[in-house]
Every structure is written in structure tokens, then in C-alpha cells.
Assembly symmetry: C2
Homo-oligomer: 263 residues x 2
């Protein structure tokens, strides 16, 4: 097989569709935007879209399918959301019911798929600016924390902002703010720099999701709003049926990361 | 009366609510963001929100009220959308039926109000950068044109992008792009620079909406996506009832213009 990092997004999706590449997608199709998935029934779609609109930092929408259509027309018009992700999670009334490699049997005519931006999109620019990303260095998942920063409620959807954390050397903190500010459509600038307790994080070494990473002498913990927020909030509503990607198995879109650079 | 330019947004709204200030709002409450209004029934709200989400340049959402609530919680929690605009237009099946100074008699429990960004927010930064805005100099309305740039369809909502035009001296075009790029949440960077015919505009001196302005020797017409687009598109759907502000009579929010500056 060719190097997945160098493949076009559509080649990656084709391999995934044929169950020939069932792996976490980090590093695949370099330069193409990857996205989180949340599928809800139309009955909840307006409130969820409104929630995302009111909370753009944790919930940056990349694409929303037309009700009943499995095709993400903006993000990848040749894709099918029911087959093109490596692993899906089926949640019933907020409980994980099953993990599957396609959702053909679950798809219904009143479903709406939301693709939500992911921090991969700004991690490459950070690295291109010489700012190393610790969880990539340590080959683990990014540490994520529930905060005391409330999201703005929309209908039944409410809950705290979840953030991801990257330790940044003091001398690079300003540049990290500048670089990520360029990408307001995929979480954008940090929400907090420094003291974890100020945003309700008790123990920086015990993340609520993902893995703990080393914070070295002279490094500052920097926090960005995280795409886990909308899923966590949606789960809280315990919808009859909700489908998401399995952690790490993202949707690989045809959009280039640089498309999200505002200037 | 004090100078309306120096008043707080809430003072302006209070005067408007009491019918003591029924005038176009341009120049009032300097530094506070003004917004276009579109009110639709909930039945159309998801599709309209989706349309705005898919077309963020012409349709930058500032706030969306909860169905049935007249309070724009994010943009001005002390305001009432039914009374705080100077003049409203009532459209029935796409036809202008009436112009009124409040909509208490029209408001229903299933209505959703959309506040949509307006180019006033980036005109002040242009002027602060020494780039004069012609329609302000000439004390008329900005010229607006239908283009051949299609919006991305969402349900029943579809149609062409409407743009506004400002003539910019050649030497200032780069700076105008930079300055407005800072404000992706209120139309952002231009959609086109130069030749009107390239985007389907036949005669630059015959705008489809607003007034024609002088283009001087050495100036380039620069086009920005315009907040008239979503209203024009919604009107095309001929909804049973739709309520908008009357042109020039904008909603004055509590949000500061600089809040929309991304960096």
C-alpha cells in the first residue's frame, strides 16, 4: 500500500469504505481537514445546529447534511457518511450500544449528519511554526478536561465546555495564539493560558478524556475549546439514537486545512 | 437629546422602543454592532439556519432567538426584538404588506428571529485605516448588486449572492483586504476585486439595490458579500409571514464591533 500520509482524501475514504484501512486516521491524507461526526434525528437537528452556532469555539461546523442525505456536499461531495468512517459508535438513550464499521443498517430518512472541526487542522500550522505538539511527540491522545466555562444553552442542549491542553514553551505562547487565531473555523485561538484552576480543572495530570502528557519546566499549559464538547453535550440529552465516529477514527474530508486560514 | 453617536446601545434601543427616535440608525451608538433582522416561523427556521451556516460570507449570524422568545440573549439580553427596531416590514407570501413601528400584534409563539451581521462593523475599521467609504462621503445608501455567484442551497432556500461595492484607491486595495479579513463574522474579506462583469454585474452604475456612487480615476470596485442576500433569498421562498427591519433601521446590539475582530 502507498503511504497513507501522501494519499488524497478520496483514496483514504475508498480504502476505509472497503474495510481495507480500519485504523485511527491521524496523519493520513496530510493537508486534508479531518472532522468529528455526530448524527441525530431531524427532530433534534435545529436545536443542535443552534447550539453549535451559539458555541462556535467548541463546536465549529464544517458541514451539515440535508435531512436524510448521507452525502456531505460541502466537505466531500463524493463521500457517503454511512460507510466512509473506519469505526462508528451507536448510542441509544445516551448509552454506547455497539461499535460498527458502517451504519447502513442504522441510517434512516430523518437523520442529519454534523461534521465538526477538529484540532488536527491547527496542529500542523503549530508544528510548521516550530512549536512541537506534546501528545504527538509522546504518541498518545491529547489530554481533555471538563471546565467550569458553560456553553450557551440551546433548547435541550447545555453543558460545560471541554478543552484540550497543549504544553507550550513560554517563549512560544504568543506565536501559538497568533497561529491558531488564523483558524476561527476550527476552534481558533486558545480559551485560556496558564492556571488550570481558573477554569475549574483540579488536576492537570488527570484529564477527563484522553491521556496525560508531560509538562516540562518553563512550559505553560494552553487550553483550546475541544470538539468533544458537542458530543458530550448531546449525550447528556440522551437522544433515542445518536451515531458518532469512534475516537480517533475521523472523517477525512476533501477540504484543505489552509482553507480555514482566515488570513 | 444627547448625541446618538455617543449613546450606549441600550439607550438608543430605549428611545426607539418609546418611538422617540424613528430614524435610520447609521452612526448611532458608535462602536456597537448593528444587525439586520429576519423573523420566520419555526417550520422554516432549521432550513434558514442551515442556509446561513452554509453561506457564512453573505449570511453571518450574530444571534438567533429561541423559538417564541423575543429576547436576543447573546446580542442584547435586555432588548425586545418586537419593539426595539425603529421600523419593521411585514411580508406576506413574499409581498410587502405593511410597515410598522412595533410587531407586538404580529408576534407568535412559533417565531424565530435571526440577527445577521452588517457591513457597518467593518466600515469603521476601514475609515480608521484611512480608507474612505464612498457612500458615507456621498451620504447615500451603499450600492448593491445581484451576482452570478450562487449561494449553496439549503432546503427551500437558494439564490444568488448579493454584494455591496466600495470603490477603493489602487494603493489601498491590499490594506482593505487585510482589514476586512479580520472580521470573518461580519462578511469578512471581499468576494471579488475589479471587473464587475466577472461576477455577472452588467452595469456598475445601475445597482439592483441602494444607490450608485462615484468611482474615481485610479479606483477599483471592491465587492463584499452583503447581508441583503438572506432576506432576498427568504423572500424568494414566499413564506406565509416574514418580518424584517426596514432598510437602514437596524437592530443596535450590545456587542462591540471589535469583538468580531479575529486577531
Amino acid at each position: 500500500m502507498n503511504d497513507p500520509a501522501k494519499m488524497h482524501a478520496s483514496e483514504i475514504r475508498s480504502l476505509i469504505r472497503n474495510n481495507e484501512l480500519v485504523k485511527p486516521t491521524s496523519g493520513m491524507a496530510h493537508g486534508y481537514t479531518q472532522a468529528n461526526l455526530a448524527i441525530l434525528k431531524k427532530e433534534l437537528a435545529f436545536e443542535f445546529l443552534l447550539f453549535c452556532q451559539r458555541n462556535p469555539k467548541p463546536c465549529p461546523i464544517i458541514d451539515v447534511t440535508d435531512p436524510g442525505s448521507p452525502i456531505p456536499l460541502l466537505a466531500a461531495p463524493g463521500a457517503d457518511i454511512r460507510t466512509d468512517i473506519g469505526k462508528y459508535r451507536i448510542y441509544k438513550h445516551g448509552e454506547l450500544a455497539e461499535e460498527v464499521t458502517d451504519i447502513m443498517n442504522y441510517w434512516e430518512d430523518d437523520m442529519v449528519a454534523f461534521l465538526i472541526g477538529c484540532s488536527f487542522t491547527f496542529e500542523h500550522p503549530l508544528m510548521n511554526n516550530g512549536i512541537s505538539v506534546r501528545h504527538i511527540e509522546e504518541d498518545c491522545n491529547v489530554p481533555m478536561y471538563k471546565t467550569n466555562i458553560p456553553c450557551i444553552k440551546a433548547g435541550r442542549f447545555e453543558g460545560p465546555t471541554v478543552v484540550s491542553m497543549r504544553p507550550i514553551p513560554e517563549k512560544d505562547v504568543v506565536r501559538a495564539v497568533q497561529v491558531t487565531s488564523r483558524f476561527p473555523g476550527v476552534h481558533g485561538a486558545p480559551v485560556h493560558i496558564g492556571n488550570p484552576a481558573s477554569i475549574g480543572i483540579q488536576d492537570i495530570h488527570k484529564p477527563d478524556f484522553g491521556d496525560s502528557v508531560t509538562i516540562k519546566e518553563g512550559e505553560v499549559p494552553v487550553f483550546w475549546a475541544c470538539g468533544v464538547t458537542p458530543q458530550a453535550v448531546a449525550m447528556h440529552v440522551k437522544p433515542e439514537l445518536m451515531i458518532t465516529h469512534a475516537p480517533g477514527y475521523m472523517f477525512v474530508s476533501d477540504l484543505r486545512d489552509e482553507k480555514f486560514g482566515i488570513i
